[in-house]
């Protein structure tokens, strides 16, 4: 656990050095990314003025990206602000878009950088109490009527909120964005082995909370993360 915390601190310092602002005019690792994907093709079409292509691209990623930011900020209003900023950056950068990067990596790198920037600007959702509404918020039809499932969801989200920010970031990039370790490393600026370690810690802690079957473990994790 201590190594995880130390690991997180080191990463935080690295973030401060490497992520100057919410932008991606330069993607230093672009040459190592996978080439053209369908998403990239849509982005290129949008770059050339096809609004329909953007529409399709947007609806592929909007909900997952929103959830990523919602969990990272732990505050709905903040998440909405950053969410808009991310898309605005993407729209603005379309003229310079090149299909050298996997689109989802490109998108989540913007999102990650925007989140880090907003974190620096406003510490309200770093270390503060998470937005309680997030634990019960739900959209669309789902088996939330099942009380047991609802309870599990609540515990899982609470435990996720309690994770150190670097572990939460890696977990969400893996589960919401569907990124692999290498891509997460590119997005966060951390080494691949560091990413792997953070993901392992995150999974272990979340599993512990759910195994405990009550909120005690989540509270313990919360103390751990401070």
């Amino acid at each position: 656990m201590n190594s995880a915390i130390a690991d997180g601190s080191a990463a935080r310092i690295k973030h401060k050095k490497s992520l100057s602002h919410c932008a991606l005019e330069t993607v230093p690792y672009a040459h190592r990314m996978t080439p053209l994907t369908t998403d990239s093709a849509l982005m290129l079409r949008y770059r050339d003025g096809d609004v329909g292509a953007f529409d399709a691209l947007y609806h592929r990623h909007n909900d997952a990206l929103f959830r990523y930011l919602l969990r990272m900020t732990r505050n709905r209003a903040a998440a909405e602000d950053v969410y808009q900023e991310v898309w605005a950056r993407l729209i603005k950068a379309r003229r310079n878009y090149r299909r050298t990067a996997k689109f989802s990596t490109y998108l989540y790198r913007i999102a990650h950088n925007c989140f880090i920037d907003s974190l620096r600007r406003n510490r309200r959702y770093d270390g503060g109490a998470p937005d309680t509404a997030l634990n019960v918020a739900d959209a669309g039809p789902s088996p939330e009527h099942d009380a047991e499932r609802a309870g599990m969801r609540k515990r899982l989200i609470a435990a996720l909120n309690a994770l150190p920010i670097e572990q939460r970031d890696v977990f969400l990039l893996h589960e919401e964005a569907g990124l692999g370790l290498e891509d997460i490393a590119h997005v966060t600026g951390a080494k691949r082995e560091t990413v792997k370690s953070r993901l392992r810690y995150a999974n272990r802690k979340l599993r512990a909370v759910l195994s405990a079957g009550d909120d005690t473990a989540a509270r313990a994790l919360d103390g751990d993360a401070q």
Binding site: Y46, I91, A139, L181
Partner: protein, 169 residues
């Protein structure tokens, strides 16, 4: 290289319960913005360097505005240069019809009759007060066959403004 982690129960569970959607109003806002941005032209010099072009145009306009009056600075007492320049711009906007209209009015003010007397006629101070009226006066003189007077007025116009009076057909 095995980039992906093996499937795990926590990840599956998380994905099954994480189902918040992006707010509809945000979706609409962003899609509108994307559409608006896509309508803007891209790839042209003007599109890529709007600030540079705007700066160049502004600098050029300022240079003309400043150097123009210096170049055409009258040696005698010029009649309200500033007002004349404004009128000239206005005339350009209004077009030749407007100039013709002023010319007709100026023509009516020039007395006909004795040709020798007519040759000595010149545009009145009121007519030379503005570029438009002065140009119209010169045109009226030429229309009436008073070529000498028209030439003299044209010379005077040139000495004051540094350019020839526009020819009105």
């Amino acid at each position: 290289m095995t980039d992906q982690q093996p499937p795990n129960d926590i990840g599956r569970l998380y994905r099954s319960v994480s189902n918040e959607a992006a707010p509809t109003e945000l979706n609409e806002t962003i899609l509108r913005r994307a559409a608006r941005d896509a309508r803007r032209p891209r790839g042209s010099f003007l599109g890529r360097w709007p600030a540079l072009v705007a700066t160049s145009v502004t600098a050029g306009a300022c240079a003309v505005w400043l150097l123009g009056p210096m170049h055409s600075a009258p040696t005698d007492n010029a009649p309200e240069q500033t007002r004349a320049v404004e009128d000239f711009a206005a005339a350009a906007a209004d077009g030749r019809d407007r100039i013709r209209e002023i010319g007709d009015a100026a023509s009516a003010q020039i007395p006909a009759g004795d040709p020798s007397a007519a040759q000595s006629l010149h545009c009145t101070p009121e007519q030379t007060a503005t570029l438009v009226a002065w140009s119209a006066c010169i045109a009226a003189l030429r229309d009436q066959g008073r070529d000498t007077a028209a030439s003299e007025e044209m010379q005077r116009f040139f000495s004051v403004h540094g350019v020839k009076a526009p020819v009105i057909e």
